[in-house]
Amino acid sequence: MRRINGRMMTAALLGAAVLFLFVITVAGHMYAEEALVTDFSRKDLSPGGAYIFGTDWLGRDMFIRTLTGLSMSIQIGILAACVSSVLALILGVLAATMGKTADALITWVIDLVMGIPHILLLILISYAFGKGFKGVVVGVALTHWTSLARVIRGEVLQLKEALYIRAAQKLGMSQLKIAWKHMLPHLFPQFLVGLILTFPHAILHEASITFLGFGLPPEQPAIGIILSESMKYLAMGRWWLALFPGLLLVFTVVLFDVAGESLRKLLDPGSTHK
């Protein structure tokens, strides 16, 4: 048998990640109602048997609650990551192509965003939107575009120097057409990797900000809220309320991080030997 090499690994990881997303999202929708069902005859059960993640103080099934919570977080994460990546693409390209002033301005904004600790900026943005769903999505989207924008800016600057682009300019091709025909295809891999890698960070920050109490109302059981509620019951020894939801969250983040990283390595031309 052939040895498993990096490329197969990457393909498998990406496949697993997408499948995982799909399953969780579908499960989240299927169990949306059930996650809210309370039943005092089965409250505070430790994990095992019928309830593999145990139940909480209201007798809610923690497994189902975790699934719906995670699917909620994933949806917010995807939305925020997409907005963030597109923002990064637009600003990165603008910075590299629209002249010195635009470049300085955008670089300045990047420094500005990076100067405020992420969580603090999230709190501010969430506050600006009157706390709630919109605040979380906008907040996460607005805090995650900076590094990808830098990468894209650098990439475009390099492309601009490339011979074939210069040739196209000499031939009188319009800026827009050059950008569309020659630059975007080169930027796409970078963009894709950026998008995939932004997603786990978006989820992490979404969980953090909801954990702190900003954003979603308690009836919407996002992972952060489940974990924040579990805090009150920790001292009573109900460890399962915090352990499993957190583990699943970490698993999701790791999966996408590893998948994204391995794709990035694969697309890096210097790595063909590995």
């Binding site: 090499n5 990096g6 490329r7 197969m8 063909t272 030997h273 590995k274």
Partner: protein, 309 residues
């Protein structure tokens, strides 16, 4: 050829890298195959080939500093014995030394003096370095400079100085004169000639035949990862003396012979033809050239061409 002792003998050497092909399969990439070079004590041998022919790897393989994903084959003899990893480790930097292309090979954050002494501070190494610097007319203050502060003229002498800290018996100079003025080239080359005259074997790796002819004793012509001819410098006096059609092509491309270039380009390692790598560009190519081609002695030199007489 000289009767002096052979210091380095490379026989039928090959290097290949693991690399991804299209899709999910991995293949070995034979960057060097059929490489044969011998160097005697006090002799200066130039390996000449155009860029991309795998010349630098030759230097790295002798020193044992190839990256981990490289696989080697063939024989490497130093001073009559097989050059094992352990021997390479013990000898490099002392008996076998490398002189790099440029100061980019120096640590930008370490002062010249300590860097050449490899961080050693003892009296003996200090005195030795001072002596070497005097020999090259470098002031002692230069030792306190950082690489970025060296002037162009100092660069080469500093780089050559690094070689002399040990007791070199084999000096490998990898493309030591990139983009230099011919005047400067002569000066740098004279340093190497000097080392050879003191008894060390010198392996000069270069793409510039003209330079090689100026200082070397023998020229080994390298094409697409293969040594195609091993000739005395005097053989380059006329085209007929040369044995391989590629050597002759190089000869005709020299300025004094009219800058005549042949068509085509050196094949990429992945698209090597069967048999003779020069086949597709060769006018004398026959069917038998697609088979195994031995490296054989012809008129005192060696050649890898079945048509050579």
């Amino acid at each position: 050829m000289t009767d002096k002792k052979i210091i380095l003998d490379i026989r039928n050497f090959s290097v290949s890298f693991e690399q991804y092909d299209k899709g999910f399969s991995r293949t070995g990439l034979p960057v060097i195959r059929n490489l044969d070079v011998t160097i005697h004590e006090g002799e200066m041998v130039a390996v000449v080939g155009s860029s991309g022919s795998g010349k630098s790897l030759l230097a790295h393989e002798i020193l044992g500093i190839l990256p981990y994903n490289a696989t080697m084959g063939g024989e490497l003899l130093y001073d009559g014995e097989i050059l094992t990893k352990e021997r390479q480790k013990a000898l490099r930097g002392n008996e076998i030394v490398l002189v790099p292309q440029s100061t980019a090979f120096l640590d930008p954050l370490m002062k010249i003096g300590p860097q050449i002494r490899k961080g050693k501070k003892d009296r003996a190494s200090r005195e030795k370095l001072n002596e070497i610097f005097q020999g090259y007319h470098l002031k002692e203050e230069v030792q306190n400079l950082y690489p970025f502060e060296l002037s162009g003229g100092m660069n080469r002498r500093v780089l050559v100085s690094t070689a002399l800290m040990g007791n070199p018996r084999l000096v490998i100079a990898d493309e030591p004169t990139p983009g230099l003025h011919m005047d400067m080239v002569r000066r740098v080359m004279s340093h190497f000639r000097e080392l050879a005259d003191r008894g060390a074997g010198v392996l000069l790796i270069t793409h510039d035949l003209e330079q090689a002819l100026e200082v070397a004793d023998r020229v080994v012509v390298f094409y697409a990862g293969t040594t195609v001819e091993d000739a005395d410098v005097s053989d380059f006096g006329s085209e007929e003396m040369l044995r391989h059609p590629y050597s002759r092509a190089l000869f005709r491309a020299l300025p004094q012979n009219g800058f005549q270039f042949i068509k085509g380009t050196q094949p990429y390692v992945k698209e090597l033809p069967e048999g003779c790598p020069f086949g597709p560009r060769c006018e004398q190519c026959i069917e038998a050239c697609k088979g195994e081609i031995p490296y054989r002695e012809v008129r005192g030199g060696r050649v890898r061409c079945i048509c050579a007489k």
